[in-house]
Structures are given as structure tokens and as C-alpha cells.
């Protein structure tokens, strides 16, 4: 037993490291990484509070999808400190298993509610689901809409995500976008990630932010919802098309600048000739 190991086993030492590593793990691989961390640290298992907290943060940041009656994303937007998540529409609090990504139980709860904002939320949900069905693979996507405040002063929060997890073929990916709007301003954050790790480790990391002025008319919920989702759709599509264009033009530009597939002569290097010539030059 080395002296070093005794120190390292103190939680103060490894908590920061665990948090950093799990936070930066691609979605779909957190459980595997936690298992390996336990092996390295020793005398600890994945159910330890430090591991569970890191996993919880990871799931929240990646808009994890939880299985229950329906698959849904849960967000801590309305309750950052508690050990449950709020489903505003159904007036419920939800408890989950972060390791299995499952909903364990739901309880009825009384939540502050505004009828006009409820109307807008429901209309937004409808439009969002339409957007998802048209441009996302529905097996692996989800969205949420929530609000805080009342008709005179409100903020709406939307989240959209799609996930690819294919561990047997060594790849994973996530599309994670979060939006919020007030009466006059819409802001969004987008994270696109891809990870391929057969014989290596290659990762795409793409982030973008959006901001646009809007005007929300609560008396016309359906129309307002359409406009807002339409704006989100337009901005996200502009981004996606931009990615497509980049992927079409980059390989040529980038790889050509890096290393030729063959020398400019069109043939591989003649080692025999070069070895004799260059070594002879050396002697001079």
C-alpha cells in the first residue's frame, strides 16, 4: 500500500476530479466512466453520494431523457435544490433513477399557475411536437416547456434534445438546445456533440448562441406560439444547414492543407534512391 493512495482516497481530493470528468463525458457513457472511476479511486461504488451527484449534474446538463409512461426530459429550471423534478403541466413532482434513466414515482402537487400562460404553454408544446416530428428522429428526442412568473412578468423555458447512443459501434452524439423568452426577447444556446472511438477518440464540439427580439401577445396564444417556434425552427435550421455546408467543403480544404495523399509526383517515395542520395550528402 503506497502512501500516495491513502491521501487520494480522501473525498476532498477526488470529488473535484470526479465532477470534472463526469461533466465532460459524452451522454450515454457516464455509467461506464463512473465504474472506471470507482476502480481507480478504490473502496467506492457508483451509489456513493459523490458519484450520484456528478451523474445528476451530467444528466441535467445533457437534457437526459427519462423513461416512464412517456419518454421525457426533466429539467431543474423550476427547482434547482430539491431531489425531485417538476412537471408543471401535470402538477406533479417526479422522482427518478439517474443510473437507469427511469422515472420512479410521481406525486401530485399544487403549483402556481396562470391561465393565460398555461394556454401559451400548451400551444407551444403542440408546435414543438410538430417540429420534432418533422425534423427529429422521434425515437430518441424530447422537449419541455415551462414558465415562471405571471402574465405581467414572465419567462418561458424550452428545451429540445435528440440523442444517438450506439456503444457496440463505438459512437454517441447529442443535440442539446435550451431557449428562454420574455415578452420581448428570445435567447437560445445550442450544443452539438459527436464522439467516435473505434481505434481512437474523435470528437465534434459545436456551440452556438442565438438572440432575437420578439413580441409576445398573450391574448393570441396559438398565433404567438406558432411565431416563437417558427423563429426557433428557423434559427436551428440555419445552423444545421451551415453544418451541412461545412461538412461538404471542409474535407478538401482541411486535409489538403495537412498532408497530401501522395507526393506531387503522383508516386510513393522512392526510399532506396533517397536513402543512398541523402546519406551520401551527409558525409560531405
Amino acid at each position: 500500500m503506497n502512501q500516495g493512495e491513502g491521501e487520494v482516497n480522501e473525498p476532498e481530493h477526488y470529488e473535484k476530479v470526479v465532477k470534472y470528468i463526469v461533466k465532460n463525458t459524452p451522454f450515454g457513457q457516464a455509467n461506464l466512466v463512473i465504474k472506471d472511476l470507482c476502480k481507480i479511486i478504490g473502496n467506492i461504488n457508483p451509489q456513493h453520494s459523490i458519484m450520484l451527484q456528478a451523474l445528476r449534474d451530467h444528466n441535467e446538463e445533457h437534457l437526459a431523457l427519462f423513461k416512464g409512461q412517456n419518454t421525457q426530459i426533466l429539467t431543474n429550471v423550476l427547482n434547482s435544490q430539491e431531489d425531485f423534478y417538476v412537471d408543471q403541466k401535470n402538477n406533479e413532482t417526479i422522482q427518478v433513477d439517474h443510473e437507469k434513466l427511469e422515472i420512479i414515482s410521481r406525486s401530485q402537487v399544487e403549483l402556481p399557475s396562470d391561465p393565460e400562460l398555461n394556454q401559451l404553454r400548451d400551444a407551444l408544446e403542440q408546435q414543438l411536437n410538430l417540429y420534432l416530428s418533422q425534423q427529429f428522429n422521434e425515437k430518441v428526442c424530447g422537449a419541455y416547456v415551462m414558465y415562471q412568473g405571471d402574465a405581467s412578468d414572465f419567462t418561458f423555458y424550452l428545451g429540445i434534445t435528440a440523442k444517438t447512443i450506439n456503444l457496440p459501434n463505438f459512437f454517441c452524439g447529442s443535440w442539446i438546445s435550451t431557449w428562454e423568452f420574455t415578452k420581448t426577447q428570445l435567447k437560445g444556446d445550442l450544443k452539438v456533440q459527436a464522439h467516435y472511438y473505434e481505434d481512437g477518440n474523435v470528437q465534434l464540439k459545436n456551440v452556438n448562441t442565438f438572440s432575437e427580439g420578439i413580441n409576445v401577445d398573450l391574448s393570441a396564444a396559438s398565433e404567438s406560439a406558432k411565431q416563437i417556434i417558427h423563429t426557433i425552427t428557423r434559427l436551428e435550421n440555419k445552423h444545421l444547414t451551415g453544418m451541412d455546408n461545412l461538412y461538404n467543403s471542409m474535407p478538401d480544404i482541411f486535409f489538403k492543407a495537412m498532408r497530401r495523399p501522395l507526393p506531387i509526383t503522383g508516386t510513393k517515395m522512392n526510399w532506396n534512391e533517397n536513402v543512398h542520395k541523402l546519406v551520401a550528402n551527409l558525409k560531405q
Binding site: K39, F136, N201, L240, M243, R259, W271
Partner: protein, 275 residues
């Protein structure tokens, strides 16, 4: 055995973490196994650094020419910063090293048209020797690319059966980084990563071991050329093809989803009908 398992677990984790932060990731994991940190650092592929000597001649800095915090130049055979009591290749091996660098520099010129190359050799206890042939190339701002770099790390282990057969085992890793200029449509876009390949070949030495040094350089050089060319093609497919597929599997361009699913549907029908 326990240390081996822990190091393996660290390497597994490193494979999953963003390669843009390889230094930070390695340091974080090393802090959990301080007694094996050295061993861990030696097994990591990361972009190669460049150093220079008192005359301004550049050389690549890697695990293979490092002693403590100093690095040996392939040009002068001295360490920078200078240290006493360092590790040097034997005289015979240093002669081979000089020749290899001259030849590899030509390879670099032909394929990379720029960049920097270095070869380092070291003696091994089993009587054989090993060598690292390294290349670092940067791509500056050009047509939408903010910056990018290519690092080749070719490590070759050379053994003989004592008679006339020589076996060369190569492990090549290419570490690539590419940053796209912040553009309006796409924001900050970065693809970074490593791909690795191994290969082993054996050859009969020339009669009477004539020009054995040149023979080694030719054989090693040919292997390096083959594996690097292979990885370049792979990277092209993985870097762009694969990462794009991963995203576009879940997220469709306007109007495309119907088209793609229709195509999948037709393929399914075909399969059913014709097995």
C-alpha cells in the same frame, strides 16, 4: 497487477473525454494515481510540442526524447534546458539517428510540404532498439479554418532473431485538431481526435549485413509511409463522414426526413421480398 488495471481504467476514461483538453484530462486522472502518473503520461497521445536550441533550430519534444523536464534535440544531441546525467543513444545509434533524420526530412517535404520532423532512437535492454519518427504540421487561417494541427507519432520497435531476420513493429497515432472560425451560421466548431494503427513485418537482412543501417531506414520508412497514408484516409472518413452521420441520424434538414425514411422503407420492403 493492480497498477496495470488502474492505468487501463484511466486510458479508458481518456478515450471518452474531449481530446481538446487532453492535458487537463490527463492531469486530473494522474492526480488520482500519483504513483503511476509517469507511466500514464507515457501512454498518452497528444499534439506534439516544438522546442528550439540556442541557434534557433527547431526540434520536436515528445516522451521519446525527454529526460525529466528537458528534451533532446535530434540536431545537436543535447538537452534543452541542459541537464547532467541524462540518457543518450549509443554512438552507433546516434549515427543511425542522423541518417534517419536526413531521409525522413525528405519524406516530410514530399507529403507535408511544410511542418517539422524529428527521429529519435534509443537502445533497448533486449539488444534490439526502438525509434520514434515524429511530424508536426500547423495549418493557419485559411478559407474558414481558424487553426489546425497534425501530429504523427510513429513508434517502431526493432528486434532481430540473432541471425538474419529483423522484425519491425510499428504503432502509429495521428492527433488532429481543427477549429473553424467563429461564423454566423455555425458558431464555434471544433473537431479534434486521435486514430491509432499497428502493423508488424519481418524481413531478411541483406547478404553479409551490407548497408544494414540503410536497410533499417528503408524498411522503417516504408512502414511509416504505409500506415500514415492509411490513417490519413481513415481520418478523412471518420473526422468528417462519421461525425456528420452521428448528428444527422437524429436531426434532419428540412424536407429530408420524409425522403430518408421513405428510402429506408423501400430498403426494408426489398429485404422482405428478396431476403
Amino acid at each position: 497487477m493492480e497498477s496495470k488495471e488502474k492505468i487501463l481504467a484511466c486510458l479508458n476514461i481518456l478515450k471518452r473525454l474531449p481530446p481538446t483538453q487532453i492535458q487537463k484530462n490527463a492531469a486530473a486522472l494522474a492526480s488520482l494515481i500519483p504513483d503511476y502518473a509517469e507511466e500514464l503520461y507515457q501512454k498518452i497521445d497528444k499534439p506534439l510540442d516544438i522546442g528550439q536550441d540556442e541557434k534557433g533550430n527547431q526540434f520536436i519534444q515528445s516522451e521519446f526524447n525527454r529526460d525529466g523536464d528537458s528534451f533532446r534535440s535530434h540536431v545537436t544531441n543535447s538537452y534543452y534546458p541542459p541537464i547532467d546525467d541524462a540518457v543518450y543513444p549509443s554512438e552507433a545509434l546516434r549515427k543511425l539517428e542522423l541518417k534517419a533524420n536526413a531521409v525522413f526530412d525528405e519524406y516530410r517535404r514530399l507529403y507535408y510540404e511544410g511542418g517539422l520532423s524529428s527521429c529519435y532512437f534509443w537502445d533497448k535492454e533486449d539488444g534490439g532498439f526502438a525509434t520514434a519518427w515524429l511530424i508536426r504540421k500547423n495549418v493557419e487561417k485559411t478559407k474558414g479554418i481558424e487553426d489546425g494541427s497534425w501530429s504523427s507519432i510513429n513508434v517502431i520497435d526493432i528486434k532481430t532473431d540473432g541471425k538474419s531476420k529483423w522484425t519491425y513493429k510499428i504503432t502509429t497515432s495521428v492527433v488532429l485538431e481543427m477549429n473553424i472560425i467563429q461564423n454566423q451560421d455555425v458558431g464555434k466548431f471544433n473537431i479534434t481526435g486521435t486514430l491509432t494503427k499497428q502493423k508488424e513485418e519481418s524481413f531478411e537482412a541483406p547478404a553479409g549485413n551490407k548497408d544494414l543501417e540503410l536497410f533499417h531506414i528503408m524498411k522503417i520508412g516504408t512502414l511509416v509511409e504505409d500506415v500514415e497514408s492509411y490513417l490519413r484516409a481513415q481520418l478523412d472518413g471518420v473526422y468528417f463522414g462519421k461525425t456528420k452521420d452521428i448528428v444527422f441520424q437524429t436531426r434532419f434538414l428540412e424536407g429530408e426526413k420524409h425522403f430518408i425514411q421513405q428510402r429506408l422503407g423501400l430498403a426494408g420492403e426489398f429485404k422482405q421480398k428478396y431476403g
